[in-house]
């Protein structure tokens, strides 16, 4: 991370004018009342929720400040902004809820933060096609409540739902807690409106499926603001479920729990929620929220039509025989508390030497045990490691590690960096994928080339073709 002090680094936006008008002047003309160069805004937008930056703030270090924050209100505003940025070579950082935990929204090169939160309308609901159209800046929980009022759900429940946006979900390949049934964000999106770095607006077709070349949506989804600014999306929605039931089981060994989950998915059972906590996570994380359990807890949540929920629960039960039935209680309890855990981190971070972070990786069933073991080995004696497995697939599963450690007199930043170096080196060598749903941003960028191999260079070449002036979110994902 680039660090510096307030406003000492000159940047393109403040560079001496050649035409008599600075880019900042031009911004004020383009976005009257919707641009800020105030110090307080620049400080607020200079970081996102990545723990590395929270640690830096705790230690009094402030990173690169953006030169300005702009709030566009429509797609034409975004086009104007990108054209201005091209003209002057100014970095533009698209901003949703700023809830990235990997530094994806941090303006490391200064420039202009493009906060999309005023583009927050639910534009249309097509109840026949079960699709809605919404602007990128709509807040997740607002969106969910608006759909709920009409009898529908997004099916997308990231734990950041109160502080993340639809556009952010799409840009970072978000996944929600019920993804095993409803799919991840890339499965929920049907079409996108986006502004390419050139300022050109594209609108992909809202078709259920096409054989019309590469999937353009899937190039923009996950591009973390490097290839375009997503301004609007057409998304699937679902009728609110008739029924929601939980089946909870405690396994003596983690392996027995994993095996049960694998067999469930293999059999074609599609629970909405699959959460298997290892022993430490069962004991520590859940008890911190008031649920006392021992062993390896598996929570399965089923939802949908009454008859299918019954049938799926019946199909699941024989495959859980290796464990002990814990009833529906822990599942209902989890559902009540499902967004709370994220807000517990600040308590830990308040401790002067404490370091806390989470890391979500994925692997096929053949490799997952080795990935889990490799991370445990790499961090043994360094930090406390808790883990749960929360997104399951017929071919594999994700692991969500939580780390709590004490820098014990060493600089927290270095301690934290070493934690990540050990973790991701272990994941890569054990054959896992370095991110399941948090994305790459700054934090994981050093490992992206190992993840993508030769395709990282393809990414860079595509970026150069689409964004020759490198204005969109530069310095992220291992790109220039």
């Amino acid at each position: 991370m680039t660090t510096g002090t307030f406003g000492t680094q000159p940047s393109a936006a403040q560079s001496p004018p050649s035409t008599g008008q600075t880019p900042i002047d031009a911004l004020h003309v383009l976005f009257p009342q919707r641009v800020s160069t105030r110090q307080v805004d620049r400080v607020v937008y200079h970081r996102d929720l990545s723990p590395a930056q929270q640690l830096a703030v705790r230690e009094g270090t402030v990173g690169m400040l953006p030169d300005a924050v702009v709030w566009p209100e429509n797609v034409q505003d975004v086009t104007s902004l990108l054209r201005l940025a091209n003209e002057h070579g100014i970095p533009i950082v698209p901003w949703g809820g700023g809830s990235s935990v990997v530094g994806a929204a941090t303006p490391v090169r200064g420039g202009i933060v493009c906060d999309l939160k005023r583009m927050n309308r639910l534009v249309q609901m097509d109840e026949r096609s079960l699709l809605y159209v919404a602007e990128a800046g709509i807040n997740g929980e607002d969106l969910e409540r608006q759909l709920n009022a009409a009898g529908f759900t997004t099916g997308h429940f990231p734990s950041s739902i109160y502080c993340s946006t639809l556009g952010g979900w799409l840009a970072t390949r978000s996944a929600g807690q019920m993804s095993t049934r409803y799919g991840k964000i890339e499965d929920l999106v049907v079409s996108l409106e986006a502004v390419l770095p050139s300022g050109r607006v594209i609108q992909t077709k809202a078709a259920p499926r096409s054989a019309t070349g590469p999937d353009i949506d899937q190039l923009l989804v996950g591009s973390e603001g490097t290839l375009g600014v997503i301004t609007r999306a057409t998304m699937r929605m679902f009728p609110l479920p008739e029924s929601r039931r939980f089946v909870c089981t405690v396994f003596d060994s983690l392996n027995a729990g994993l095996e049960a989950v694998r067999l469930l998915l293999r059999r074609g059972v599609r629970p909405a929620v699959v959460r298997l906590y290892d022993e430490l996570d069962t004991t520590l994380a859940l008890s911190s929220l008031g649920l006392e359990m021992n062993g390896n807890l598996l929570i399965l949540g089923f939802e949908g039509r009454h008859a299918m929920v019954e049938a799926e629960m019946n199909a699941a039960r024989p495959l859980l025989a290796a464990g002990e039935d814990a009833g529906e209680g822990p599942g209902e309890w989890w559902y009540e508390h499902r967004y709370r855990i994220s807000y517990k981190q600040s308590v830990v971070l308040a401790g002067e030497q404490m370091v806390v972070d989470t890391c979500e990786v994925a692997a096929t069933w053949s490799r997952i045990r080795e990935v889990y073991a490799a991370v445990q080995r790499a961090l043994a004696g360094y930090v406390t490691v808790l883990a749960h497995f929360s997104h399951a697939y017929p071919e594999g599963i994700s692991i969500y590690f939580s780390f709590v450690g004490n820098a014990d007199g060493h600089p927290a930043a270095g301690f934290h960096a070493e934690l990540w170096r050990r973790t991701l080196d272990a994941v890569v060598s054990a054959g896992g994928s370095i991110s399941h749903h948090h994305g790459i941003g700054l934090l994981k960028a050093p490992w992206l080339a190992a993840e993508l191999g030769g395709l990282h260079a393809v990414f860079a070449r595509l970026k150069r073709e689409l964004d020759p002036n490198n204005i969109l979110n530069p310095g992220k994902m291992g790109l220039p």
Partner: protein, 512 residues
């Protein structure tokens, strides 16, 4: 350009410049090329055909192609119906069928790793012997390859349960035009940037050679439940189909035939209660009991498509919806029961399992009936489009009306989704000379594509773009063409991979 340099460079590469091979590879299954063949117009023969046996050989081939400026055309089984493998005279066809190994089956992770040249039916049988299925059953399965499926975004008959090919691909190995061999990571899901698999899936040979694919497999189904339902008309049957999908059910098959297609659907036994009076009964029985295409062709009914459509409109409207659930015992029956309940409540008349079983037994036959029609002096083609449930009725009627005066046209709806469905039109027509047929053929396509775009449909659901639909691609992609072109420039700046396809080289004036 001399091929000698190629032989020196890659001594063990199998190369042919023989006339028979060059004629064979001058066309694929694009129907326009069938029409032309009747006039002994063979089409442009490629310079040569090569059969590489490894990714390394292909990498060497791309280096040679770059030095000599030779276009390369990746070739699977040649079953494309959009002219996606048509060659220029300086091009070399790269037939991948000798790269046909099934490399590995991971039974724990349910993944199979295969080379691109494996023929679909061979792979399915290999998996079947081991207790698995790929779940991918395009009607071309006997004459199409895994690489071709991935390159063209294939969709199979059981796609509603198992997904389309893009849902099955977990990882790929691709040889880029500069000779670099890249691999995507074998992982269930990752948030590590754009989905590079989805860049190469559907790229139709314009961005790289797919040299290995890792696909999801499923345990072979324990049970299979078929049921046919008769609905009064297309809109009410579509509503039934939509309700199934939106209830979260995942049948393997849902096929709805419109009124004409229901009559034509094959030599299937009519349901006992399906009796219509008098001449109408005779007419529908005659249509049903004979190969209607041949029948009509012989009687030159194609010359009077308007009359046939008018006749069919007078028949008591009814159409057949065939549904099949398969999978694990217990779960599948429960899902099927829920499905039958929904369809009955929406007015479907339960015809029992027979219509579905009959379809299943003959599911690959229809594609092979077309040659008889060409022999009878007519032509036939299919056009598959898709849209959302909200727009489907208009798209269906709009496209039908656009060509009803030129061709006998019928449709079925065979891939259903939460948010929409595809339409698979079959049309047949005839004209005097092959040249006139060619003009009529082009007119019909022009009208189909224009009406599809007007009513908001996607111009291809699963056949791809290739040569024949490329003029409409820029409009289809709504600005996304700029992204596709950027990817092409980034990966194949010399434009040597399958040039002249997918609208990548079309000027503004050539686009529709």
């Amino acid at each position: 350009m001399s091929l000698d340099t190629l032989r020196t460079r890659i001594p063990d590469l199998v190369v042919s410049v023989g006339e028979a091979d060059r004629i064979n590879y001058a066309r694929d299954l694009y129907p326009l090329t069938h029409i032309r063949m009747q006039d002994a117009r063979i089409g442009t023969r490629p310079r040569a055909v090569v059969w590489p046996q490894s990714a390394a050989q292909i990498a060497a081939l791309t280096a040679w192609a770059a030095e000599t400026g030779t276009p390369l055309i990746p070739y699977g089984a040649g079953s494309g119906v959009c002219g996606g493998t048509l060659a220029s005279e300086d091009a070399v066809i790269v037939d991948l069928k000798r790269m046909n190994r099934i490399v590995d089956l991971d039974e724990i992770s349910l993944l199979v790793r295969v080379q691109p040249g494996v023929i679909g039916e061979d792979l399915e049988r290999w998996l079947s012997r081991r207790g698995y299925t790929l779940g991918h059953f395009p009607s071309s399965i006997y004459c199409s390859s895994v690489g071709g499926w991935v390159a063209t975004r294939s969709g199979g008959q059981f796609s509603t349960k198992y997904g389309k090919i893009e849902d099955m691909v977990v990882a790929q190995e691709v040889v880029l035009p500069d000779g670099e061999i890249v691999r995507t990571r074998t992982t269930p899901r990752a948030a590590t940037g754009p989905d590079w698999d989805q860049l190469f899936v559907g790229s139709e040979g314009t961005l790289g050679f797919i040299t290995e694919v890792t696909l999801r497999v499923h345990p072979a189904p324990e049970v299979r439940c078929f049921r046919g339902f008769r609905f009064a008309d297309v809109p009410s049957a579509l509503a039934g189909m939509r309700s199934l999908l939106q209830a979260g059910l995942r049948p393997a098959v849902t096929r709805l035939y419109d009124e004409i297609d229901t009559l034509v659907a094959g030599n299937r036994k009519p349901a006992a209660d399906d009796v219509v009076p008098g001449w109408k009964q005779k007419f529908s029985r005659s249509l049903r009991e004979h190969n209607v295409f041949l029948q009509l062709a012989q009687r030159t009914a194609f010359r009077h498509p308007k009359m046939v459509h008018a006749l069919v409109d007078m028949l008591p409207g009814s159409c057949l919806l065939t549904v099949m659930f398969e999978g694990a015992a217990g779960l599948t029956e429960a899902e099927a029961d829920e499905g039958w309940r929904i369809l009955s409540e929406l007015g479907g008349r339960d015809l029992g399992p027979a219509p579905g079983e009959a379809w299943y037994a003959t599911r690959y036959h229809v594609s092979y009936r077309q040659s008889a029609l060409f022999a009878a002096g007519a032509f036939v083609d299919t056009c598959e489009v898709a849209t959302t449930w909200g727009a489907i009725d208009d798209l269906y009627l709009g496209m039908l009306r656009a060509v009803q005066s030129q061709a006998l046209i019928m449709a079925h709806f065979s891939h259903a989704y939460h948010e929409g469905v595809n339409i698979y039109f079959t049309f047949a027509a005839t004209a005097g000379t092959p040249a006139e047929q060619e003009r009529l053929y082009e007119t019909i396509w022009e009208r189909l594509m224009e009406s599809c775009l007007r009513y908001g449909g996607t111009i291809s659901h699963h056949h791809g773009i290739g040569f024949s639909k490329q003029r409409w691609l820029a409009r289809e992609l709504g600005g996304g063409m700029e992204v596709f072109r950027a990817a092409k420039r980034a990966i194949d700046p010399r434009g040597l991979l399958n040039p002249g396809k997918m609208g990548l080289a079309l000027s503004e004036g050539e686009r529709r």
